[in-house]
Symmetry: C2
Amino acid sequence: MRFLIIGGSDAGISAALRAREVDPDAQIDVLLKDDFPNYSICGLPFYLSGETPDWLSLAHRTEFDSISIRRGHQATRIDPAAKTVTVQTEGRGARTFSYDKLLIGTGASPSTPNIEGWQLPGVFLLHTMKDSFAVHEYLDSKKPRRAVIVGAGYIGLEMADALTHRGIEVTVASRTKAVLATVDSEFGEAVGQELRNHGVAVFTNVEAQRIIRVGDHLHISGSQGFEHDCELVLIAVGVKPDTALGIDAGLQTGDKGALLTNRKMESGVTDIYVAGDCAETWHRLLNRHTYLPLGTTAHKQGRTAGENAMGGQCEFSGSLGTQVVKIFDRVIARTGLSQDEAEREGFQPFTVESTVNDHKAYYPGATPLRARVTGNLATGRLLGAQLMGTWGAEVSKRIDVFATALFHGMTVDEISDLDLSYTPPLSSPWDPVQMASQAWSLATAQYRKETECIR
Amino acid sequence: MRFLIIGGSDAGISAALRAREVDPDAQIDVLLKDDFPNYSICGLPFYLSGETPDWLSLAHRTEFDSISIRRGHQATRIDPAAKTVTVQTEGRGARTFSYDKLLIGTGASPSTPNIEGWQLPGVFLLHTMKDSFAVHEYLDSKKPRRAVIVGAGYIGLEMADALTHRGIEVTVASRTKAVLATVDSEFGEAVGQELRNHGVAVFTNVEAQRIIRVGDHLHISGSQGFEHDCELVLIAVGVKPDTALGIDAGLQTGDKGALLTNRKMESGVTDIYVAGDCAETWHRLLNRHTYLPLGTTAHKQGRTAGENAMGGQCEFSGSLGTQVVKIFDRVIARTGLSQDEAEREGFQPFTVESTVNDHKAYYPGATPLRARVTGNLATGRLLGAQLMGTWGAEVSKRIDVFATALFHGMTVDEISDLDLSYTPPLSSPWDPVQMASQAWSLATAQYRKETECIR
């Protein structure tokens, strides 16, 4: 059994490791176009901030259990009939690999921004280890004093934190009405305030349009009179799936152009699997495939593909879109659907925000936790939750309690039935997750009563 | 509708609040033998450590939404035929309250220790606000230099932390082979080490037997040559349910003498409910009632009883025995069954310990998290989990992910399907909860293989 994997990031390596667990005898080759197998792309901001001084430590692992990791091997063509992959190697020309089972885990690339001048020196898109070395080298050699970050998603805001940490004066230009558009604007506005509290200038509703070089610095301009001088521009406006290889091999595409797959991570072309940021994602709440590229999902999809390539029959259980980010001292997390998303999908969502302490106020260090719970008025079921609190207030694993509840289709009311842990320094007899759920139930009852009165 | 509640701690107040939510018109009276409605008993160690300077802040709440809180009202007799309760009031003699529905939430009392001299001045059992005032007053006036704590459960160890915080030299005498017998001895031994690292002397396998007064101090002795001088002895050797009133009214008792109940919290005697530490607890994994007094459970049982007293039909969903405690800088948590408990119950448990970082090691501050996962060899189902890590490493809410998985009867393998949150400062692409589950699966597969080889 020869299992060939194109791509050595989360999906590819997870597939390889799982295949190895399942079949100790399979020959497993991972084709890696660069030199960095299974590096943590999510760690790049911390390398650039200086908090992670050694980039080598960004490797999720360096031991690969008799998996053959082939660096500098850029796959250029798949022949599904012959079951071969043509590869351009660094220095040693073209080679052909045959396979019994193939996984395409080519990942995603940064979206090309619609900004004039984005290819100027001093302007960077951050996605690969190589990108990050370029930024690092630029930071070290040019010592930029001012940076403008275009895009206010996870990477953009983590980089705002990272560059501030380095002492650089940071400006964020966000196209959306509040930063961090993956959460509700109520939270986005608070995150904007957190950025400002740390000296970051935040501009919202701004479309960056043009970058020019003026003497020794860059000048960036955009809508609403946005004009800024700086020495560094970072652009982080999302990613698009890398699908050329797959499409060329006859694979179909779906949501946002990502490679189609079923829940077994089969592509539809015989013996070819897909996983990770190049592929669609089964959404557990929507009951259909979407494009939702996340490292956690890439690991799970890769594991599923790896097991099935070795003869397994398992299905990817689906994503809930669970995400968390730390921006300075604040942690913001979400799972499931927001009010707007749920409305668009035809649910009858109702969202209630409440604020509770992360632990009993009488024990020192309690901090407020803002929770937004979205439930379905028609069924009482939980649809999603968003949490925002202080770093150290167990925000991340609290969203995971919601995520686990969501995984099982619990109603909001049923969350109070969970037997969660309590000690005064860490929680309350009803955990904040439960208090927020109870606030939803009370507000919903009140809303129903008022709606009935109106009728 | 007159809803009468005996006991104003967690169960009683939760019942009252829920009843008020369900029926805004009901007359709700809570009979409180002392002066402290809904105080956080779990907070007493922090009051005594000085971390919570004002005991008034220990109140879970001070507003009771038109619930009549009757302080200094000691119920002395229930007449189920007449549906009345006789009450001894402070200063105003005996009174009789009638009820339509009654809840007995009399709680528990400290187990009387089998130690000669335990009633001497300077020896304390810690359970009520009044007990805690007595200890506080003793600490302030006598300024004890040395304390011996008999019992190494949650309260005993929290008090070891609390008194050390006050600068007192603390000795713990534990009857069990390791402290904190509610978790496996592998963890108990590490907790013992944590105590010693903070200057606490720890003695295990010691049965305290005798306390005598010698001049200006106390002398306590026990098995294995345990001999100690001190100025303060705290005894915390568990609790027993307060059931006299219930038994007198014709209620039945079950496990450990606690009041029998069904999952609706009905006592079996018409219109009398029971909840909290005086009552049995439905155990969700064991599918039967046990005695497992916990504040979290008391809240849930009280809420169930309060809803049903107002005409509801809800059932208590059951306890998983989820617990967490912070001892100095270490947090120890558990949910479900341990290996020993599961064996005793006739399961085929298998426990695997693994150690993983709480978050990506490349981000500063990562600390090791020890996880012990217990699964059923026959079914693959999760039976329980124990976690130990550093305060701040989201140990508490990680056990809650296990608890939520357990609530839904997940297999250990299925835990890897959960969509949990990840950012490098707070987790890994597979959360530690999932890495520990995968370690269980791999070790189990290995164990099966070896067992087959032997056969």
